[in-house]
Subunit: 332 residues, 2 copies
DNA sequence: CTGAAAGCGCTAACAC
DNA sequence: GTGTTAGCGCTTTCAG
């Protein structure tokens, strides 16, 4: 019951409401003693500023929304944490909006929906241009896109093709039959960002450059669920007629493959050489050779871009790309 | 840029602002033709009601916040989806606030923080009374607690002890050395709800009732991370000197055990009989015998309780408990 | 059924 | 450095 208003505090402290406002907003033009008196009144009365009134008055919410396909993966946890950390300096909060269900997706088509009641948007692994039927719906709200290039919004990406080619060139050092296990991307499913396709494209190009072929039958694509990941891994291993090299386009899937390799009594890094992608928190413990993405740095960068744009919406569109780095561990 | 206000719409439609308000709020006392005219003006001008102004004026945000320890597990995804679904009838949105990091937790100690800028709170698997240093911080905001009993808030729980005892009695049908794999609960970590302890307590009681012992050395407790789950599973299997029964207090861990059983060349349901807890989406595919929790029904129930309390904060505290049901599949 | 007008709590521009 | 005052956009009386 936030019945205590700025007026009550003002009366109690013997000042005007505007002075109370100056106190709570760290306004420079206020005497230290006055401020202290006001703050103690606030404490005493248990005053909590009415956020709705503040947003209404200032036109700003001091919050941003993070739209993302799913949650709970290392990758997004790291992203969220780095954004949270970067926001602290701006005294902003982040609301997280995973598009978990069709219902949520449909609901968020409405420009009056909750996520847009903020000062800015982060689209993580989502393409805003395909997200909305009416491309104008959310127009005007400052936004930054993560992982997806965009011609209309600031964006922060990773050079996925480079990552794919680094994987290919590393595996080429010990030639063998080569497979790819990839994540299916479809619109309206979590992953429609195109990153996985880019990784495969880079891999393929590097194979071609080395005079090697990667037939379509050597690419196993599957939905982003644990069972499917294991299925794809088993299918790949069945095709094997000797040592193989396998590029897996995300670490979660690479670990599913690792398990299947062990279940089949094979030795990772020897019978089956594996390169993953992401370098998630478990990658090191699993001994996984993988492409490191500088997620934290990307999170910081996109936060900065977004806050700059909120401060000045007239800014020209900016784009920052990061290079993945190969981490060589035991699996390849 | 939501520069178009209700005034502009009013002028365009040749009515007063109050009439526009009546139109967008589905007020009964408005002529159909007037409403149509207003709505078409809204369309034409691209008017979107200013949520900040609405919340400010009405004192309600038409949103609730869901605080939970983590995201990405089946269990919470199902909970979120069922809450979303139930909220639709009330035209409410849910914001999700996972306490992913210490930083978030600290930030949300502040009663002015983003999650509390709503009409109500759901504490999922969190005990509000231990969450805040100052127990009065969030006072007054309608709240419902999920999975944790509470003397001050409405709560929806599952009879975890019953679940544990059902597991024990089922396993007792084929006597064998009996182990428990459990999830560590600590304050300031995701799971401080007490549910896992209750499950073990119920299991233990049923063992005692059957004249069986469950020494502490037969209980393997581990942090809620994949590696630790596998570790705990391996430790349990090493202790084995013949067929064993293992009660695992959540399905995610039960699947880790299943994998280790197979890796060890053992047969689940025969050499190692396993009962899990949750009946998550992968349980059926894994053939896991487990305790089903009616998560969706719980989500609907807590949503109803919360909306009722928002409508009438003077309501007496209510509590609803659901019984888990044993789903017998292949693993036991 | 529609209009007129007050005012929610706060901030900011302007006085002093 | 503090007070005075207007007003953000909307909803909700109260008239008519």
């Amino acid at each position: 019951m936030s019945k205590v208003t700025i007026k009550d505090v003002a009366r109690h402290a013997g000042v005007q409401p505007s002075t109370v406002s100056r106190a709570i907003n760290n306004h420079p033009h206020i005497r230290a003693t006055t401020k202290a008196r006001v703050l103690s009144s606030i404490q005493e009365l248990g005053f909590v500023p009415d956020r709705a009134a503040q947003s209404f008055r200032t036109g700003r919410t001091r919050s941003i929304s993070l739209l993302l396909p799913i949650t709970g993966t290392d990758f997004y946890d790291r992203l969220i944490n780095s954004i949270d950390e970067a926001l602290e300096a701006y005294e902003y909060d982040a609301g997280i909006f995973p598009l978990l269900s069709e219902r949520r997706l449909a609901r968020y088509q409405n420009p009056a929906a909750l996520p847009y009641h903020t000062d800015g948007l982060v689209y993580a692994s989502l393409n805003p241009e395909q997200l909305y039927h009416d491309p104008l719906t959310i127009q005007g709200l400052p936004a930054v896109v993560f992982e997806v290039p965009s011609s209309r919004y600031d964006h922060v990406t990773v050079n996925n093709e480079l990552g794919g080619s680094l994987a290919a060139r590393h595996l080429q050092r010990r030639p063998a039959t080569t497979f790819v296990i990839n994540v299916e991307e479809r619109f309206n499913t979590p992953f429609a960002s195109g990153v996985f396709r880019e990784r495969v494209r880079g891999f393929r190009a590097a194979q071609r450059d080395a005079g090697l072929d990667l037939p379509d039958t050597h690419i196993f694509t599957s939905d982003f669920t644990p069972e499917r990941a294991h299925q794809a891994a088993r299918r790949a291993l069945q095709q094997r007629t000797g040592p193989v090299n396998i590029f897996v386009t995300c670490d979660v899937f690479a670990r599913a493959l690792l398990e299947e390799v062990r279940l089949a009594g094979l030795t990772p890094g020897d019978d089956v050489r594996i390169v993953g992608f992401d370098d998630d928190r478990q990658a090191e413990a699993s001994g996984l050779t993988t492409l490191h993405q500088p997620v934290e740095e990307m999170g910081r960068t996109l936060t900065r871009l977004l806050m700059e744009r909120i401060a000045d919406p007239s800014l020209l569109e900016r784009s920052v790309q990061f290079d993945p780095v190969l981490k060589v561990r035991g699996t390849a």
